[in-house]
Amino acid sequence: MAGLSAAPPGSAAELRGLSNARMFAIIAELRWHLLRNSLRTIRGRLEVISRGFAAVTMTMLSIGGAIGLAIASYLSVDDHRYSSFALIFWGIFIFWQMYPVLGSAFSAPFEFGSLLRFPMRFSSFYLLNLAFGLLDPVSLVCVLWLFGVFVGVGIADASLLPWAFLALFVFGATNVLLSRTVYVWLERWLAKRRTREALGLLFVFMMICFQFVGPLASRWQRHQAPALGQYAYLFHIANFLPPGLAEAALIDAHRGDQMFAFFSIAAIAAYALGIAALLGMRLQAQFIGENLSEALAPEPAGHQEKVRAAWDIRLLPTPVAAIFEKEIRYLFRSAPIIFTFVMPLFVLAMFRFVPSHGGHESSFLVKAPDWAFPIGAGYALLILANIVYNSFGADGPGLQLYLTAPVRLRDVLLAKNLAHSTVLVLATSGVLITTIVLYRPPSFAVTFGTVMALLFALPLNLAAGNMMSIYSPKKYDFGAFNRQRSTGATAFVSMGVEAVVVGIAAAVFFLTRYLQRVWLAGIIFLPLAAIALAVYWVVLNLAARRVLERREILIAEICRT
């Protein structure tokens, strides 16, 4: 082409494509460098040590599981008791597919597509995805378990080994392909904040619901005979799915029905091919440049409207009202608040439906329903402590506004504390309603005592929480459901405060109950609440000064990206 000079020696024009093996080696080297560099910090070293412990524990459990499966498989073949194969294959299948899904729902996914900016062929991209899936710890555990099955079957009947190898290999390959397929689809959904949060919520509620399965099943068994017969067709469908087919292949091979065994393995292979094609479609979309960013979908036109005025809270000074409104909006758009509201109600419900001994409801709360309200309210306070003890954690870069705006930092803390108190009031109201519905309305003495106890416990928690929010801050993402631990110092202090506060409250309640003067509890808590409020006020002013002194540490921790 005219005007263009030849590419200089050593330029991209002379480069040749990399082999897949070389590409894997480069990525492995990159991971090694990342690991080595992470060891430069104490935090990184501790992380590696904890992962090391986790890996050792997981390896032990996996080996134990493999031995157990080997024994179970041996017994199944040896005694012709094939029913345990169904349990084995379905167990492995569910663990293999569900565990990574549950894990990924709580965190942003690894952006595999970021590798696409390098000159990579589609086949390399596909194989890399599979390799990534195979080297996943869950896959390694499951492969080890399948090996256990293989050994068990082989010891029981050596002639089964070729069939077992084929069936287990195809079953394993199907699982690797399926887990990657599920993962890449999830990756697509999880790329968007809204779907990520919705899935997170869904999983949390699923996990909460799982806790109810035992008690509900127990009640159901007591009250009506299960009519499982109508669901028998589900078992037939399960026979045509990969775990059922793998089970059938082994059983048929052992019975000498080699043709049926072959068809079962072929059917699993057909599943594998279908899933591989699905995975290919999804990866192809990524390969040609699908955008999985957080970018907004365009909103329909005509949405322009006047900004509505902020909440009219005349009781509070303007900046305090502004921060209060912001905090309330923030808190009610956050995942942890759902726990604050749901968990106390869940605990009350659990105690209500707890399995009975000898057919009689025997939980403490069922026997003494008056205590449901104080226990539920106390639990709500304990859960809220996670937010109270790290009140700047979720502010992110917005924290800087508190330091550049003409607002007293005392007002900032006060507004945050008011918002947290409001949440507690709402959560406690929920507990009261649940207590009335599930148990019975608590007596006036207990209600009064509980409210007074909260008035004693809350200010002390807020005071300690303000200081820890300043001295031991930790960035917190309200949108994420993954476990976001507070700092060790915060955990230690909050445990200490709760031990003292809950200890005093429990002692007062038990003492007054023992004396059969529960009405005394509220009166005892009254002066304690006054002292707690005074402590809170003194600490509030002190904390406000400390925010300014420690602003750099706060900004460094909370505003980091």
Partner: protein, 271 residues
């Protein structure tokens, strides 16, 4: 006598053994469009953080519109607007909720805040996403919102840390128009930027910080004359510009802080 908009005396900040900002003396007169320049790691962000109260100086004094920042921080903060590094946004609010919040933090009443928020969102072309959370905004949209929040109370001094970074040409034009309007009404703007063309077009005065020290300060013409005089004094200098050519800010900047010259044999494989 009108007090300078920004005045820093002996401003110093040390991080352990590192002196990030080293005894800076700087004055920005009221009504100036002031560009604060420097290479990466020179101390620009540290200085702007100290001037806005985000970072405590190790030594030195800061006065904004004659008010001592340490003695009366709230009075100073009432007069200034800030777009800091990281933008100071709350991701889980909508744009209008955020502006409502910021306006009242600066003491505006609810009605005025809502009215100004409507105007600002319209002007910044952000009003068509009333229900979107800020966390879902693009970087450019977030920058425009941060700018809107910084001016909602009509500040007399505006501090902007890299306001044009990641902003498209249309949004950049919008922001520049707004800033020019503020200058026209007597406000002072203090900005840091790596985009020297923008600084050259907008700013009347600049200061250059290098390795924590202020190495040049004045109007663009003053800086230009200084560099040209130095170049013409150097006999046979290959870098000296022809006498009839005006030096660009980029040339002035590179001349003051120094730049890397690519020699013939270096990176030859690039062509």
């Amino acid at each position: 006598m009108v007090a300078p908009a920004v005045s820093a005396e002996n401003l110093t900040r040390r991080f352990g053994p590192l002196t990030a900002v080293d005894h800076i003396q700087m004055t920005v007169a009221a009504g100036q469009f002031f560009g604060f320049l420097g290479p990466n790691g020179a101390g620009k962000s540290t200085t702007i953080k100290m001037l806005t109260g985000l970072l405590a100086p190790t030594e030195g004094r800061i006065r904004i519109l004659g008010i001592d920042l340490e003695e009366d921080p709230v009075a100073v903060k009432r007069q200034i607007g800030v777009v800091p590094e990281g933008l100071a946004l709350f991701g889980r609010l909508t744009g209008s909720e955020y502006l409502n919040f910021v306006g009242r933090m600066y003491g505006l009443d609810r009605k005025t805040t809502a009215q100004r928020a409507t105007e600002l969102l319209d002007f910044m072309q952000l009003s068509d996403r009333p229900k979107s959370l800020i966390t879902d905004y693009s970087h450019g949209m977030q920058k425009k919102l941060a700018m809107a929040a910084a001016v909602i109370h009509g500040p007399r001094v505006l501090f902007l840390d890299e306001p044009f970074e990641g902003v498209d040409a249309v949004a950049s034009g919008t922001l520049k128009a707004m800033l020019q309007r503020m200058i026209g009404h007597g406000a002072t703007i203090f900005l840091t930027s790596h985009v020297l063309e923008i600084v050259e077009r907008l700013c009347s005065h600049v200061a250059i910080i290098h390795k924590g020290r202020l190495v040049a300060q004045g109007s663009l013409d003053e800086l230009r004359s200084g560099v040209e005089a130095r170049l013409s004094a150097a006999p046979g200098s290959a870098d000296s510009a022809a006498p009839h050519e005006r030096l660009t800010l980029e040339e002035i900047f590179l001349n003051i802080v120094g730049g890397t010259v690519l020699r013939d044999q270096e990176l030859s494989w690039l062509g």
